[in-house]
Structures are given as structure tokens and as C-alpha cells.
Amino acid sequence: MPHSTMERLDTDSSAESALLARLRSGDDEAFDVVVRVCGGRMLAVARRMLSCEEDAQDAVQEAFLSAFRSLDRFDGRSRLSTWLHRICVNCCLMRLRTQRRRPERSIDQLLPQFREDGHQEIPARPWKPIEASGIEQLELRDLVRSRIAELPEPYREVLMLRDIEEHSTEETASLLGLTPAAVKTRLHRARQALKTLLDACMIEGTL
């Protein structure tokens, strides 16, 4: 039932209005429905953004509590699921910022270095094609996830929001309190740094 309800909520604004009215009137069953219907996508987002399952579930819980407190402020200009998704992303970002983080390496160490004449200090070497890398799909996913986790936090969050969650530059800037130009710069550096971290496994001639 939750999945079909999700489809109905995504496509049928009257179903969403009816659910919203029930939520605002304090209907217990409506709260359970919205958690079951929208919580799956929120949990998937939180799991991608936070490395620990417990943190991911806590962020989803915080997001629902925050949403339930502010139901009166939901103006209906976006879908309920979109509004909840945004709150969930914000809760994940808050959690990332307040977590005590290990000392992070400087992004500069992961960016290409250039000579006076503008050439790279160390010329780039080609990568193996992904399908010919000899790395199993699951192993590859784990490898990339672990390298993304190594990125300094301000870069990791921009990469997650732009390249993975596919928010626009402007949406990402709004979520992070940055200018669009700063988002573009951080995203480019994050991609370059991730490339450097993957070089060791992906350059031709490596295992």
C-alpha cells in the first residue's frame, strides 16, 4: 500500500491535500502513512549523505519532527514529498556539521599542481575503461564510496548535492548558504580531488 500511495501522492494533488488536512487535524493514522510513504526516499538520501545507519535514521526522525512542528508553514507550493526531502537534506547537513570530524586533509593536496609555464607538474595518465577495470561492480561501489568519504566535508557535501542528488547550482547554494559561484568552485575541486583519490586504482597499468 505505501508504494501505491506514494505514486498517488506524487501525481494526485487532491490526495496530497487530503492527507495534509488529516495531518493538520492530528489524525494519528495520517502521520504513520506519511512516514511509511515518504520515509523510504528520505532514508535513502540520509544513508547516502551520512556514513552510519544510526545517524541516517536519526536524521530522518529529526526531519519528520521538524516537519510536523512546522506543518502550518507548509504553503503547498511544492509537493509534500519534496518539502520533506529538503528538510531531510538540511537535517543531514546539520548533522554532518556538528559531528566531531577527524582532522581533514587539505583539498590542495588533492588538486593538480602546475609549473610556471602552465603545464601540469605530473602529466595525467589515462584511466582504464570502467568496464575493463577488472573491478567487480560491488567492489567498485565500495571503493568510490570510501574515496568520497575521504573528501574534506565542505567539498563532499557539494559533490553529494550536485552530482549525486542532482540539485541545481542555485538550490545547492541556497541549502548551503553559499553563492552559486562558490558552489561551482567547490564542485570542480571536489571532482578533481575525487579523481586524484581514484587514480591509484583506475590508472592503466594498476591492479
Partner: protein, 89 residues
């Protein structure tokens, strides 16, 4: 970017994000690709950069099916939210 002198590797890599996101002007794309024709190192860099974006998506992109919400989480949200949500009148 100059019409005559090739842009440097540093300049090319500086513009790579915008090249990948297709936000460069046609004349900038022309200069960008003119450099790539003569610089195997930058070709390797550009290809690896674009592969990096694909790998990120492969590793983390959401599946179409949302994950089921664990019952324990539903119960926890229900219990914690009782004091925060509107009450039935």
C-alpha cells in the same frame, strides 16, 4: 581565451567544470578543444574527470525503489512526535 595562442593546461583544467556542465561559450569550447587536440595529458585528465562523475553516480545514485522504512523507525518517530504534532480535537 586568445584566438591564436593555445590556452595552457592550467587554464584548461580551470574551465573543465564548466566544459563538462556545458556552460562555456562556443568560442571557449573551440579553444578548449583546440588544446585537447595537441595535449594527451589533458585528454587523459578530462576523460578521468568525466569518469569520476560517472563513478560517483554509480556508487551512490538512488535506486528507483525507496528503501522500506524499518518498523522500529516508524515507532520511534510516532513516539517522539506525539508532543510535536497537532492534536486531534
Amino acid at each position: 581565451m586568445s584566438q591564436h595562442a593555445l590556452i595552457t593546461c592550467r587554464e584548461l583544467i580551470e574551465f573543465l567544470g564548466e566544459y563538462t556542465d556545458k556552460t562555456l561559450s562556443p568560442s571557449q569550447v573551440y579553444e578548449f578543444e583546440r588544446h585537447l587536440k595537441v595535449c594527451p595529458s589533458c585528454v587523459a585528465y578530462v576523460e578521468a574527470y568525466q569518469q569520476t562523475i560517472k563513478l560517483g553516480k554509480i556508487a551512490l545514485v538512488p535506486s528507483d525503489q525507496p528503501a522500506p522504512v524499518p518498523e522500529s523507525l516508524v515507532r520511534a518517530i510516532r513516539a517522539a512526535s506525539e508532543t510535536h504534532r497537532p492534536s486531534a480535537s
